[in-house]
C-alpha cells in the first residue's frame, strides 16, 4: 500500500519500523524482511505498557517468558548491529510520534487474526495512512490464510475438526518458511542506536513491571527464539529415533514438562509454525520413505489453526452471551468453589497437583487440561468455562485468546458439537494415567506419605494410614469439595436437559415459550443420524446454510447441535 507522498520519500532515505507483537523471531519472518528490503534504516519495536502489566490478568510466568523472548530478540539483533526497541506505551498513542521522529515511511508487521488484533491494526493502518506511511502485513503466525479456509467453507468457519481437516486437504500446502534474517539480507540497512538506548528502549525486568521475584524458582520453560530452535531439533531427533510418528501413548512421564515441548514457543511466535510443519514433513519422508504424511502428523499445529479460524470473525468468541456458536448453559456462579479450583484446594489430589504444576511452571499436559476443565465445568463444579479460561489466561504459557477460549468451549461441551457423556473422573482418570502417584507426590509434597492405593482418594484411607502419612485429611489437606458421583450425575442430567431443549426447538422456530408439556415423547431413535437436516433457527438469526452432498461431513448439521448418544425416550415435561 503506497500512499500518496511516499514517492517523494522514496527518493530520500527509506526508514522502516518492524512491529513485533507475536512472531518474536528472526527466522521465517516475511514482514521483517519487507522492513529491511531496500530500507536505509530499520527499527524493530515492541510495545509494552508497564501500567497495563500490573493490572492485567497475566501471571508472572507469562511475563517472564515474554521478557525472555524480548531479551533473546535483542541479543540476536545485536549480532546484526541492530537492537530491539521496547516502547513504553500504547501503539495508537505512540506511533504518530515515532513516524515523525524517525521519519518513517514503511511499517511492517505479522498479520494477527484475532478480532481485537484486527481492530487495533485497522486503527494503526489508518494512522499510518494519514502519516504517509506504507504498511506491509504478512501472514506467518498461521500455516494458512484463514480467510481462505473460511471462504472455502461458504463464508463460515468450520465447527468440527473433521470438517476443518477436509477443507485443509483441499488447500495448497502452507507456504515455505522464509530465511532467517542475516547480515547479508540486512544489506545496507542499519539501525541507528543512541547511547541511552538501554534506559529508553531496553527490555524491562520483572521487578520493573512490579513483580516480586524473591524466591521465584527458575523458569522451567525459558523463553526465546534460540531456545525454541534448540528444542525443535531435539523434538525431531526424538521422533526420528523412535521412528514412530503416531501419537505417543499417555504415561506418567508425559505429565511432566518436556525439554522438547513446543507449545509456548508456537504461541509467542518464537518458533514458526511453518518451519515446524516443513521440518516434520521432511523428517517423515526421510524416515518412512513415503510420499504423503497423514494429517495426524501435524495434529498440534492443526488444532491451533482450527481455533484461530473459528475465532477470527467472532469478537465474542470468548463469551457465552451473544456468541453464536456457544450453547447457553445455566452455569453456577460460585466464587468460593472457583477459588478452590484455581488455588489447588479442591481436596482431589489429581486436580490439585495439576493446578499446582500449572501455577508453578506454566504448562500442563493436554489430558491434564481436559481433567481440570471437565472438573470445573460439566463434570463436577458446574462453573462457567469463562472463569476457567481466565485462570488459564493468567497461568498457562501457551494460552492465547483464540486457542484458550476455543478449548474451554470444547472441553465444557459448549460448542463444536461435543459428546458430553464422557466425564473425566478426578480419581480414576489420574489413577489410570499414573498408578504409582509420583506426579501427585511431586507437586503435593504433603501427600507424599500416602501409598499408591490411597493417594488419589486419601479421604478413603483409614485413620492409621493418614497418621502414618503425617497428613490428616481435613487438617493438613482439604476434604474433597464435592461428592463426585452425585455431582456428575446431576451435571449429566443438566447437560441432557439443555441439549434436549435445544433439539426440541429445532422444528419449532421461535416458539420457545410454547413448550407443549405432554407425555408423548420425542423418539430420537426414529431418525437416522448422519443425514442433513433442515436447519432451523437455533440461537440467533443466522442465515440458513445448505449442505451439498460433497461438503457434508459425518455430523451434517451446521448450527443445530448433534444429539448425544442417548437415544432413550425421555420426558418432555
Amino acid at each position: 500500500m503506497s500512499p500518496p507522498g511516499s514517492q517523494h520519500k522514496n527518493k530520500m532515505a527509506l526508514n522502516s519500523i518492524h512491529w513485533f507483537r507475536k512472531g518474536l523471531r528472526l527466522h521465517d519472518n516475511p514482514a521483517l524482511r519487507e522492513a529491511v528490503q531496500g530500507a536505509s534504516t530499520v527499527r524493530c519495536v515492541y510495545f509494552l505498557d508497564p501500567w497495563f502489566a500490573g493490572s492485567s490478568n497475566v501471571g508472572v510466568n507469562r511475563w517472564r517468558f515474554l521478557l525472555q523472548c524480548l531479551e533473546d530478540l535483542d541479543a540476536s539483533l545485536r549480532k546484526l548491529n541492530s537492537r530491539l526497541f521496547v516502547i513504553r506505551g500504547q501503539p495508537a498513542n505512540v506511533f504518530p510520534r515515532l513516524f515523525k521522529e524517525w521519519k518513517i515511511s514503511r511499517l511492517t508487521f505479522e498479520y494477527d487474526s484475532e478480532p481485537f488484533g484486527k481492530e487495533r491494526d485497522a486503527a494503526i493502518k489508518k494512522l499510518a495512512m494519514e502519516a504517509g506511511v506504507e504498511v506491509i502485513v504478512k501472514i506467518s503466525h498461521t500455516l494458512y490464510d484463514l480467510d481462505k479456509i473460511i471462504e472455502l467453507n461458504g463464508g463460515q468457519p468450520p465447527l468440527t475438526y473433521k470438517r476443518f481437516q477436509t477443507l485443509i486437504s483441499r488447500l495448497d500446502p502452507p507456504e515455505m518458511p522464509v530465511e532467517m534474517l542475516t547480515d547479508t539480507l540486512m544489506g545496507h540497512c542499519v539501525t541507528p542506536v543512541l547511547e541511552d538506548h538501554g534506559d529508553k528502549y531496553g527490555v524491562p525486568s520483572l521487578e520493573e513491571l512490579g513483580f516480586d521475584t524473591e524466591g521465584l524458582p527458575s523458569a522451567v520453560w525459558p523463553g526465546g527464539e534460540t531456545e525454541a530452535l534448540t528444542r525443535i531439533e531435539r523434538h525431531l531427533e526424538r521422533k526420528a529415533w523412535v521412528a514412530n510418528f503416531e501419537r505417543p501413548r499417555m504415561n506418567a512421564n508425559s505429565l511432566l514438562a518436556s525439554p522438547t515441548g513446543l507449545s509456548p514457543y508456537l504461541r509467542f511466535g518464537c518458533l514458526s509454525c511453518r518451519l515446524f510443519y516443513f521440518k516434520l514433513t521432511d523428517l517423515y519422508r526421510k524416515v518412512k520413505k513415503n510420499s504423503s504424511p497423514p494429517l495426524s502428523l501435524y495434529g498440534q499445529l492443526l488444532w491451533r489453526e482450527f481455533f484461530y479460524t473459528a475465532a477470527t470473525n467472532n469478537p465474542r468468541f470468548d463469551k457465552m452471551e451473544g456468541n453464536p456458536i456457544c450453547v447457553r448453559i445455566p452455569w453456577d456462579k460460585n466464587p468460593e468453589a472457583l477459588a478452590k479450583w484455581a488455588e489447588a484446594k479442591t481436596g482431589f489430589p489429581w486436580i490439585d497437583a495439576i493446578m499446582t504444576q500449572l501455577r508453578q511452571e506454566g504448562w500442563i499436559h493436554h489430558l491434564a487440561r481436559h481433567a481440570v476443565a471437565c472438573f470445573l465445568t460439566r463434570g463436577d463444579l458446574w462453573i462457567s468455562w469463562e472463569e476457567g479460561m481466565k485462570v488459564f489466561e493468567e497461568l498457562l504459557l501457551d494460552a492465547d485468546w483464540s486457542v484458550n477460549a476455543g478449548s474451554w468451549m470444547w472441553l465444557s461441551c459448549s460448542s463444536f458439537f461435543q459428546q458430553f457423556f464422557h466425564c473425566y473422573c478426578p480419581v480414576g482418570f489420574g489413577r489410570r494415567t499414573d498408578p504409582n502417584g509420583d506426579f501427585i507426590r511431586r507437586y503435593l509434597p504433603v501427600l507424599r506419605g500416602f501409598p499408591a492405593k490411597f493417594i488419589y482418594d486419601p479421604w478413603n484411607a483409614p485413620e492409621s494410614v493418614q497418621a502414618a502419612a503425617k497428613c490428616i485429611i481435613g487438617v493438613h489437606y482439604p476434604k474433597p469439595m464435592v461428592h463426585h458421583a452425585e455431582a456428575s450425575r446431576l451435571n449429566i442430567e443438566r447437560m441432557k436437559q439443555i441439549y434436549q431443549q435445544l433439539s426440541r426447538y429445532r422444528g419449532l422456530g421461535t416458539r420457545s415459550e410454547n413448550m407443549k408439556l405432554t407425555s408423548s415423547s420425542v423418539v430420537f431413535s426414529a431418525r437416522s443420524v448422519g443425514e442433513p437436516r433442515s436447519n432451523r433457527k437455533w440461537q440467533t438469526d443466522r442465515p440458513q446454510r445448505r449442505w451439498t452432498a460433497a461438503s457434508a461431513p459425518a455430523a451434517a448439521w451446521y448450527m443445530t447441535p448433534q444429539l448425544p448418544v442417548w437415544t432413550e425416550v425421555r420426558f418432555t415435561v
Partner: protein
C-alpha cells in the same frame, strides 16, 4: 424492532407503533383506485383468531412489545390460549448469569392468568431464594388446573436447601387443586411419602408421567402407593433404592396400562455400599405386561459395587455407566441384556474390551447406539464389532484414544474400514491436543 417481511403478510408481526400510521398516509384517491385485493390491510382490524395464531409464533418478549401497539393487540396478548404454557425462570444475579422472569410479569400471570395455566415449569438456579420463590408462586396457583408441572434445578438442587415444610405445602396446593395432573417432574426435591399420597388421592386417574430421581425422603412404600393407584402411569423415573419386586409387580398388574419407560438411577452414596437384588421373575412379569417398554439404567457406582447386577437376564434397553466399570461386568452385560439398544461406557480399566464388545455385538441384536470413553479396544476387534452390528449402529461415539492400533489397522485407516461397514462416513470423537 424490525421484522423480516417475507411471504405471508399476515405473519408480519407489525413493527413499531408507527407502522399503522404509514398505511393511513396514502391518499384517499389512491385508496379508491386500488383493487379490493390491494386494499391495504388495517392491522388493527385483524381478527383475534389470526392475531392469536401470529402471536403464538412470537417469543414472549416480542409478544409483549406487540401488545403495546394498541388495545386490540393488548387484548389478544392476554387471551387464555397464550397462557397455557409457561416456564418461570428464577435466577439470582449472585448465583446465575442468566436473567430471571421479570417479577412484574410473574405478578401479572398470577393475577390474570393463573386460571389458564396448564403446562408449567420452574427453572431455578442454585440459590435458596430461587427455590423459595418458585414455591411461593406454586402456593398461589390455587385456581390452576395443571396438567404438567416441572420443577427443574439448573445447577445445584436448591429445592433441597429450603425448608421441607414450605416445599411440601406448596406442592400440595398444586396436587389438591389440579386434580388432572398428567406429567410431574420433581427430581432432586424433598418430596415425601405423605405428599405422594396426596398426589395419588387427587390425580390417580390422570397421572401418566412421574419423574422423581434423587428424592431421598421417599421410601419404597411411598412409590408403591403411586404404582398401586395410578394405573395410567406410563413413564417413571426413580432411584434404585425405591425399586422393589412389589413395585414391578404392581406396574405389571392387569389394571395397569402398558408401561412405556422406566428409568432407574443407581448411585453410590458411600464406597462399598450394598445394593438389593430384584428377582428375575419380577422383570419377567414387566416384560410380559409391557413387551415394548424401555428400561433405562444409569450407574454411578464404584467398580466393586456391581456384585448384585447383571447376574440374571434383565430387560434393560439403555445402559449408562458413569464411572469406571470392569471388564467382568461388561462381560455379564453381553450375556444378560438381550434387549440392549444403547450402551455408554465412560471408563474402564485399561485392558482391552475386545471379547466383551464382540459378545455384545453377537447377543445384543437390537444394539443401535454405543459410546465409549476411557476404554481400550484393539482396532481389529473394533472393526469386527462394527461388521457384526452393521448399519443398525446409528450412533457410534468412540473417543479417539480408545482405539489401539494393531498389526492390521492403524489410526489413520481405521475410519475407512468402519465407514465401509456402517454405510456412512465415520470418525472417532477427537479432543484438542495443542
Amino acid at each position: 424492532m424490525k421484522r423480516g417481511l417475507q411471504g405471508n403478510e399476515q405473519e408480519d408481526g407489525g413493527g413499531t407503533s408507527g407502522g399503522c400510521q404509514k398505511t393511513l398516509k396514502r391518499s384517499r384517491k389512491q385508496r379508491r383506485e386500488k383493487d379490493l385485493e390491494d386494499e391495504e390491510v388495517r392491522w388493527e382490524c385483524l381478527p383475534q383468531e389470526i392475531l392469536l395464531h401470529v402471536f403464538q409464533y412470537l417469543p414472549l418478549l416480542d409478544r409483549a412489545f406487540a401488545s403495546q401497539v394498541c388495545r386490540g393487540w393488548n387484548e389478544a396478548f392476554h387471551m387464555p390460549e397464550l397462557w397455557r404454557c409457561f416456564e418461570f425462570e428464577l435466577n439470582q444475579p449472585a448465583s446465575s448469569y442468566l436473567k430471571a422472569t421479570h417479577p412484574d410479569l410473574i405478578k401479572q400471570i398470577i393475577k390474570r392468568h393463573s386460571d389458564h395455566l396448564q403446562y408449567v415449569s420452574f427453572k431455578v438456579d442454585s440459590s435458596r431464594e430461587s427455590a423459595e420463590a418458585a414455591c411461593d408462586i406454586l402456593s398461589q396457583l390455587v385456581n390452576c388446573s395443571l396438567k404438567t408441572l416441572g420443577l427443574i434445578s439448573t445447577a445445584r438442587p436448591s429445592f433441597m436447601e429450603m425448608p421441607k415444610s414450605h416445599f411440601i405445602s406448596a406442592l400440595t396446593v398444586v396436587f389438591v387443586n389440579s386434580k388432572s395432573l398428567s406429567s410431574l417432574k420433581i427430581d432432586d426435591t424433598p418430596v415425601d411419602d405423605p405428599s405422594l399420597k396426596v398426589l395419588v388421592a387427587n390425580n390417580s386417574d390422570t397421572l401418566k408421567l412421574l419423574k422423581m430421581s434423587s428424592c431421598p425422603h421417599v421410601s419404597p412404600a411411598g412409590i408403591l402407593c403411586v404404582a398401586d393407584q395410578c394405573h395410567g402411569l406410563r413413564e417413571l423415573a426413580l432411584n434404585y433404592h425405591l425399586l422393589s419386586d412389589e413395585l414391578l409387580i404392581a406396574l405389571s398388574s392387569e389394571k395397569h396400562v402398558h408401561l412405556e419407560h422406566l428409568r432407574i438411577d443407581v448411585v453410590s452414596e458411600n464406597p462399598g455400599q450394598q445394593f438389593h437384588t430384584i428377582k428375575k421373575s419380577s422383570w419377567d412379569a414387566m416384560k410380559r405386561h409391557s413387551p415394548k417398554f424401555n428400561l433405562v439404567m444409569y450407574f454411578y457406582l464404584y467398580e466393586d459395587e456391581f456384585g448384585p447386577f447383571f447376574r440374571d437376564e434383565i430387560p434393560v434397553t439403555h445402559l449408562y455407566f458413569g464411572r469406571s466399570v470392569s471388564k467382568d461386568v461388561l462381560g455379564r452385560v453381553g450375556l444378560n441384556c438381550p434387549r440392549l439398544v444403547e450402551l455408554v461406557v465412560c471408563a474402564n480399566g485399561l485392558r482391552p474390551l475386545d471379547e466383551e464388545l464382540i459378545r455384545i455385538a453377537q447377543r445384543c441384536t437390537q444394539l443401535s447406539a454405543i459410546g465409549l470413553g476411557e476404554c481400550e479396544v484393539s482396532c481389529s476387534a473394533f472393526v469386527e464389532f462394527v461388521k457384526m452390528c452393521g448399519d443398525r449402529l446409528t450412533q457410534l461415539s468412540i473417543m479417539e484414544e480408545v482405539l489401539v492400533p494393531d498389526h492390521r489397522y492403524g489410526l489413520d485407516d481405521i475410519h475407512w474400514e468402519v465407514s465401509k461397514h456402517l454405510g456412512r462416513v465415520w470418525f472417532p470423537d477427537m479432543m484438542p491436543t495443542w
